[in-house]
Amino acid sequence: MNIKLPKFLYTNQFGLLCLVIIFALFFTFVTEGFSSRFNLYALSRVASIDIMIGLAMMVVILTGGLNLSLGAVGVSTAMFGGWCMESLSIPIIPSIFLILLAGSFLGWINGYVTVKTGVHSFIVTLATMSIYFGLMTVLTKAQSFKNLPDAFTDIGSMKIFYRYVSPLLLFSFFIGCVLYYLFRFTDIGRKLIAAGANPSAAELSGISVNRMFIYCHMLSGILAAIAGIMVTMRIGAAIPSIAGHLGFDWLLPAFLATVLGGTLLSGGKVTVFGTILGALLVTLITNGLLLLDVGIFWVRFFLGVILLGTVLIDKARAYFTEKNIVVS
């Protein structure tokens, strides 16, 4: 007798969902305080940012490229937002709009230079990472913007669902849904995927591949800017060190979320919910290992091993991926 299981059960996302549940149960039983209200709230807040930076990386990996300037864009736009709100006294909503605009502009630079020069985005964004971060440091003199409106910073401390969850997590889910809709149901989304999957074929079918690649980088810049806004809300100030030196600290979680989620490094396939689950899994494992008193240096070690292992599995999986399943 052949039993036909739902298609979802065969997907990478289902495996990830199972892993998230298994790890959550494991840490609940073996650690002290994992399921405490304080810890779950803290975890939800970290996860919301990891999801956003994962999505920001995902939309560039769709093109077969990389965005190493993710953290630099996030911190630069966050500092720009701090300057708008504190020094220029621009209200919150227009400031957020300007931050997103700045993010898309920095992303546009990445995309434009990449497609016009033909140099791999790895090199281009490696250079712009230093340029953006350096320029930000020079312009701000590495000074923080700490007198931001309370209405803005209070969002980072808000608690919902009996104070177990940060609303930032729901916002990240919402952005994930918007991206899913974009890639699954809109013409532009399908063009973005087609350009990433097979640039030559896409070009022959009338899609401007270069323009699509620039759009992807702009979208990545906007998502990185949103992550910058969320970190600023969380910290309560715009400071130059929110993503570490040059923004490096965002790279490992960004790659982990994307690759674990099932997005192909060669481009042409995005897994929005996979990336969200990947980010959740990374946050969960990091938090659980810290609670287990595994030294934080070992946490980095484990995350590196997970990334390497996943990339190797991804290489094997690439042979078997059906190209017609481009969004899941």
């Binding site: 305080g33 100030a237 060190s241």
Partner: protein, 338 residues
């Protein structure tokens, strides 16, 4: 380093009146990142548990100097049940939010070895008056130079809230020298071995013949500078360092370094843990407590600093012990309402 911690802890153990504290106080001591300066906090926490009857006083280090990692570490420690947090701020502004959230959750917090900027809900800042220490060290250097000469200043991370204070303090001491002394170079952001080694040795190669004195106000630059002067065999350049690394102490004994400004990391961890337990058991700070003010906070407690040179380098442990005991013995009466 370990000998220093062992000696200080042994001396404090046998000298202090032991205090029976609350057994459910669990203190987390969290530096901004990995750095040899904070290593003494580990033993300090263990001794505080033993001497004051605390439940726990554990030293936990973020993998990097990164605010997000420090925040995540603090949150996970609180999730584990730590109910008092002593932290070297990863950022003097950015750390405020999480400490405020902990205070709102009923978990007392204190800034250790570096302050957060006010307004803050953090109860106190207990550390070296870094500006004063840098000022005194520079004064000692100027004295050794006979009141004239060209000096260089090597200091720590720009994200370290103390760095700006140190730079200003050195400038102030030089300004007070009456024009005889000139700062020809300030090199910051070198409190790690690779950049310190590269930049200090490059400076020595390029301007070593022009400089008469060096003042260092961070651990690694002090070690690298002392090593560089020792390797060069240069006793012409006078140097005043900071902290008690073996390399610096040996260079003082050998005559390559004029002296060093000692800080008190062990005392910070030990007495800091004591203070947290007192706060958790119902004590509060007196309204007329003799707080000191810095540019960042007006609730500062000085953990002490002392200059040692070749005459007292062998007995420096006694000097730090004296300072720690003085603070501990009079702390309750000066600062606390219990």
């Amino acid at each position: 380093m370990r000998i220093f911690i062992f000696l200080i802890s042994t001396l404090l153990l046998f000298s202090s009146n032991l205090y029976a504290g609350s057994s459910d106080t669990k203190v987390a001591l969290v530096p901004g990142g990995p750095h040899p300066y904070f290593a003494a906090w580990e033993q300090a926490g263990l001794d505080a548990v033993k001497d004051f009857g605390l439940g726990k006083a554990d030293y936990r280090v973020p993998a990097e100097w990164d605010l997000s990692q420090q925040n995540e570490l603090i949150e996970s420690l609180v999730g584990k049940g730590y109910n008092a947090v002593l932290v070297f701020p990863g950022d003097s502004v950015g750390t405020n939010k999480i400490l405020g959230e902990l205070e709102d959750a009923g978990i007392p917090t204190g800034a250790l070895a570096g302050c957060v900027e006010q307004p803050t809900k953090t109860r106190f800042c207990f550390g070296t008056d870094t500006g004063h220490s840098a000022y005194l060290g520079t004064k000692e250097l100027i004295k050794a130079l006979g009141g004239k000469g060209k000096i260089a200043h090597f200091t720590g991370f720009l994200v370290d809230p103390n760095t700006t204070l140190r730079i200003k303090a050195v400038e102030q001491a030089v300004a007070e020298a009456g024009g005889g002394v000139e700062i020809i170079q300030v090199i910051a952001d070198i409190d790690a071995y690779e950049p310190a080694d590269e930049k200090i040795n490059a400076f020595m190669a390029a301007q070593g013949s022009e400089v008469d004195g060096i003042v260092t106000t961070a651990w690694v630059p002090a070690v690298v500078s002392a090593q560089a002067l020792t390797n060069l065999g240069d006793k012409r350049i006078k140097m005043v360092g900071i902290d008690h690394d073996e390399v610096v102490l040996k260079a003082i004994k050998d005559g390559f370094v004029h002296g060093t400004m000692l800080q008190n990391p062990y005392g910070q961890g030990y007495i800091g843990s004591y203070i947290m337990d007192k706060i958790r058991t119902g004590c509060s700070f007196k309204s007329d407590a003799p707080w000191k003010s810095t540019s960042q906070t007006d609730q500062f407690i000085d953990s002490g600093t002392v200059f040692v040179d070749i005459t007292d380098v062998d007995t420096y442990v006694m000097a730090m012990r004296k300072i720690s005991l003085e603070i501990l013995e009079t702390f309750d009466s000066k600062y606390l309402d219990c």
